[in-house]
């Protein structure tokens, strides 16, 4: 089959979901699907949750309408009529509530400063097993077992194979016919298989957060295709573009981005992929690069060029530090070496770990407020700090109690046979990954807003204990007043006490102590799935959550955005990015194996020309060489951002790194735009 050049058909491909046209042949309509599903439910009221879920998944894959998209190298859309989400909400959740007494969900508790949930958004299949076994291999392996779990696996993969046959037939696409019958043999088949499994899992309500190590998974297919003349370097680029744009098309660059990982074993596909990434200039997919000190300089320059020129949806992760942290948290060295970032920055062992990295959140500045609100007096700053650390311990315990129930609930809410079937351990144990089937069943805890917390402690030390400008009781009132009527003191607090991000030991030492203390508690906190809490150190949703956090001793007003990731409070890192990095590098990142990240914002003039690429590479290498973990960039001129607010039509390609994902600047709401502009003005 021949396909149009990518650049000619890009717009159409970008709308492949929105404008999908579904065939009416060989399929059932919504009413019939619903009828069959209802009949099944009625006939099997006591059916195992995973079996009933698998029945529904299979029903849709085998009988739902399939899209006509002969123009697309990667067809494979089906109409699901929201049945899968409906089943989770109407059957899964009530079942979980009945099985797990005391289960509480909902919004984070901002009085305590914690969040917890059934995290259905951080999973990834074992991509290597998928490629090695293919659907028939996965089916054959599952047929050896007899449990409801094994039956479910057989059911869903047979349905997925049937789905591939239907897509092949309707779209006259032999590639899909091939992957129904055997493991993939070509790059096109491999991509197609990854794509259909990805979408099937996502529509069954779990987010596949990474497509794995792109260069490592696909290199053999690529080499074979090149050697046997099926592909040229140029046609491979077209194939990759068709593949990647499907992930953009799904959410139009308005969600968290689909991760593709590069390195640490770079090969010719790493270079080709990065070239494609530059040419595509898209907010989604997003990339992670696993960096070691032996990363080839020309590859480093290739991706630094992407960053310099606004393709900033790239996070660099320090491979050695991540591996060391994972070992410290209980992985074997062999397993740790096989990590992939499942989420923005969150490493988990491929095919062996389900880390639910977004399960719990721990908002550090809120505990400062809790100690203040307790009304107790503390004679020294040291006493205050000890009380703060004790509050962290207390709240961590409450967080655990609530999360354990969520951990237990997951298997009722949404078992995921499509994913579990790729995990060796799930198959050996006969357990779904939502039911402790993985080798490592960890529960992520995102420790957030470090800068707000330590700047607040530093301010308390300055105001209450060193300069005696106010008492704790007076500070309570000041914060209640949201600093109104205390402008002079606020001005001083914003300027005088030491602030995180300036390489100032007075406050950096506090940060290091809090980080170590919190990490230690979480490392030893058992979850509800037979594993432990798995701490990360970064802060996201800074605008949304900032609205729920009251005025802080640091001088921050109630409702202002919280501090992002490991960054300084906006405008408080007055000594430039190297000082910020010096501060950050004092924290032992191995204490936060579930990921950390530092954002660096640079003015375009700092990274102009080839010399600018050198500067970026130098920053990344220095950060990695000295124990940093995750680092990502925004390259901004405040004036350009202002202009983009007024003339969005001129800036369709202006990307911003939000937290661990990119969006178009013009898609941000005005409040979030303002936050970026303030930060850009601070560096100007």
């Amino acid at each position: 089959m021949t396909y149009a050049p990518f650049d000619e058909i890009r717009t159409k491909l970008e709308k492949q979901y929105e404008n999908a046209v579904f065939s009416t042949e060989d399929c059932w309509d919504e009413a019939k699907l619903r009828q069959v599903w209802d009949d099944h439910r009625k006939a099997n009221p006591e059916e195992d949750r995973i079996l009933s879920r698998s029945f529904l998944i299979s029903l849709i894959l085998e009988h739902a309408p399939v899209a006509l998209e002969t123009f697309n190298m990667f067809p494979g859309k089906f109409q699901h009529f929201n049945l899968l989400t409906q089943d989770m909400n109407e059957n899964g959740w009530p079942l979980a509530v009945s099985k797990v007494p005391g289960l509480v969900g909902g919004a984070p508790d901002m009085e305590l400063g914690i969040g917890w949930m059934v995290d259905r958004s951080h999973v990834a299949p074992d991509w290597f097993n998928l490629m090695k076994l293919g659907l028939p291999g996965l089916i054959a392996r599952a047929e050896k077992g007899t449990s409801p779990f094994h039956k479910s696996i057989v059911m869903v993969y047979k349905a997925l194979a049937e789905f591939c046959r239907r897509v092949a037939k309707i779209n006259n696409n032999p590639v899909y016919a091939e992957i129904a019958e055997h493991a993939p043999k070509t790059l096109h088949e491999a991509f197609a298989l990854a794509y259909v499994l990805h979408d099937a899992i996502e529509f069954s309500c779990e987010e596949v957060r990474t497509m794995g190590r792109f260069d490592e998974i696909y290199i053999d297919f690529y080499r074979k295709d090149i050697a046997e003349g099926r592909l040229t370097r140029e046609s491979a680029k077209e194939l990759i573009k068709y593949f990647w744009i499907a992930f953009y098309a799904r959410y139009q660059g308005k969600r968290f981005g689909k991760n593709f990982c590069f390195g640490p074993h770079f090969n010719e596909l790493s270079y080709l992929g990065m070239e494609v990434y530059y040419e595509m200039n898209t907010v989604d997919p997003k990339l992670s690069v696993l960096v070691r000190d032996d990363m080839p300089q020309d590859f480093a320059e290739l991706y630094a060029r992407c960053i310099r020129d606004g393709r900033t949806a790239i996070v660099s992760l320090n491979y050695d530090v991540v591996v060391a942290g994972m070992i410290r948290h209980g992985r074997t060295p062999e397993d740790a070496a096989n990590f992939i970032p499942i989420g923005c920055y969150e490493p988990a062992v491929l095919g062996k770990e389900i880390s639910c990295s977004g399960s719990t959140h721990f908002y550090l500045p809120v505990m400062v407020l809790s100690v203040l609100k307790s009304g107790k007096d503390y004679a020294t700053f040291e006493d205050f700090k000890v009380a703060y650390l004790e509050e962290i311990r207390r709240v961590a315990g409450i967080m655990r109690e609530r999360q354990v129930l969520c951990d237990l609930a997951w298997k009722y809410v949404n078992p995921v046979p499509l994913l579990s079937g790729t995990f060796d351990s799930c198959m050996e144990r006969g357990r779904d990954m939502t039911d402790c089937g993985a080798v490592y069943n960890t529960t992520g805890c995102v420790v957030s807003y470090l800068a707000d917390a330590v700047d607040s402690l530093s301010a308390i030390r300055y105001m209450v204990y060193e300069k005696k400008l106010c008492t704790l009781a007076e500070l309570r009132q000041i914060l209640k007043d949201n600093w109104q009527g205390h402008e002079k003191l606020r001005n001083e607090v914003l300027r005088q006490p030491a602030k995180w991000g300036n390489n100032d030991p007075r406050v950096d030492d506090l940060a290091v102590e809090i980080a170590a203390f919190t990490s230690d508690i979480l490392f030893h906190l058992p979850n509800g799935r037979g594993g432990y809490f798995y701490p990360s150190l970064y802060g996201q949703m800074v605008v949304e959550n900032g609205k729920k956090i009251g005025a802080l001793p640091s001088g921050r007003l109630a409702g202002e955005p919280a501090s992002k990731n490991m960054d300084a409070v906006i405008g408080m890192d007055k000594n430039g990015i190297t000082a910020l990095m010096d501060s950050v590098l004092k924290v032992d990142m191995r204490q936060f194996p579930c990921g950390t990240c530092l954002d660096i914002m640079l003015h375009p003039t700092s990274v102009r020309g080839d010399e600018g690429i050198g500067i970026l590479v130098s920053l990344i290498r220095t950060f990695v060489a000295h124990g940093g973990s995750g680092i990502q960039f925004n390259i901004f001129d405040a004036g350009v951002l202002r202009d983009a607010q007024v003339h969005p039509e001129k800036y369709a390609n202006l990307q911003v790194r939000v937290c661990g994902w990119n969006v178009r600047f013009t898609d941000l709401d005005p409040e979030a735009q303002e936050t970026f502009i303030r930060q850009a003005e601070a560096i100007a």
Partner: protein
């Protein structure tokens, strides 16, 4: 311990030599360029800057020093009476007062520069700039020695108008010189910078003979030194030098205008637009015809 008057330490300086650097700006300059981008660096003696846009007229400064007064909501300052004691700077809650020309010992400077040592390892280093740093060459020598002991790449950014002996002092400890070149014609030079340039050019020739790496830096100011004849004269001179690795063309901008007001110097900044990349490229092309590696900093 030798100390120096300084105005600033800039970390992550990426325009003052190769790689990621920290630049120490010393106070005192032997030129008075009309377009000066750092007017607070010109006199050697300390001086107070008032950043008027930041001033809230709260009057805290007036409480600690009689040089300040708030009259009818306007901040007035008796500069002639100011002893540059710095008390007002600490008292100002808005950060509107800044004392330039504080003293720093060699050890203090070294500690500051070494904070970012890890960033210098990948092709970066430190730069001493100004003002004219070689007016305080004794300090420079001691500081550079310490930096070399740490294995750090050292650059000195000079306007060249100092006794040759100052160069001789720092030469053994300097890896690279950033050397300003304003214009070739001595009389025009005097009009633009307050001094003729014979000694500057003489020092440059001598420096070239030492074999040290030199990067020439030319601030391009429309209507002042960007005529073809200016560039040809510059090319004529610079093209004969042997150890100039590059001639970097920098664009004039008037962002420093507010600093003239802040430190109470008469504003001499030319009222011209900043040149764009194309304008610099035309200049670069002329220089390239003299076999010069001309770099357009806007590209």
């Amino acid at each position: 311990m030798t100390s120096a008057k300084y105005i600033d330490v800039k970390r992550f300086a990426v325009h003052d030599g190769p790689g990621v650097r920290t630049t120490l700006f010393l106070k005192g300059c032997s030129l008075r360029c009309i377009w000066c981008h750092n007017p607070e660096s010109r006199p050697m003696q300390p001086e107070l800057a008032i950043h008027y846009p930041k001033c809230t007229c709260c009057g805290e400064c007036a409480k600690v020093c009689s040089c300040h007064s708030i009259v009818n909501g306007v901040h007035e300052f008796d500069r002639a009476a100011c002893k540059a004691c710095g008390k007002c700077e600490s008292a100002c809650p808005a950060g509107a007062l800044e004392l330039f020309g504080k003293s720093m010992t060699v050890d203090e400077a070294a500690a500051k520069l070494l904070e970012d040592k890890i960033f210098y390892e990948d092709g970066g280093g430190i730069t001493i700039s100004g003002g004219e740093p070689l007016l305080q060459s004794g300090f420079c020598v001691e500081l550079l020695k310490k930096m070399k002991e740490e294995g750090i790449h050292c650059a000195v950014d000079t306007c060249g108008l100092v006794p040759w002996t100052a160069f001789e002092e720092v030469l053994p400890y300097t890896d690279m010189f950033l050397y300003d070149f304003k214009c070739a014609d001595p009389e025009k030079h005097r009009k633009l910078t307050g001094s003729r340039n014979e000694r500057i050019l003489e020092n440059l020739k001598k420096l070239d003979e030492t074999g040290k790496e030199i990067e020439i830096r030319m601030i391009m100011v429309p209507e002042h030194n960007m005529a073809e004849s200016d560039l040809r004269a510059a090319g004529e001179f610079l093209g004969k030098l042997k150890h100039v690795s590059a001639v970097r063309l920098l664009a004039y901008h008037s962002l420093a205008r507010s600093k003239f007001k802040a430190v109470g110097h008469p504003d001499t900044m030319p009222d011209v637009e900043s040149p764009n990349a194309e304008a610099l490229e035309r200049c670069a092309e002329i220089l390239r015809s003299y076999s010069i590696n001309a770099i357009n900093s806007l590209k």
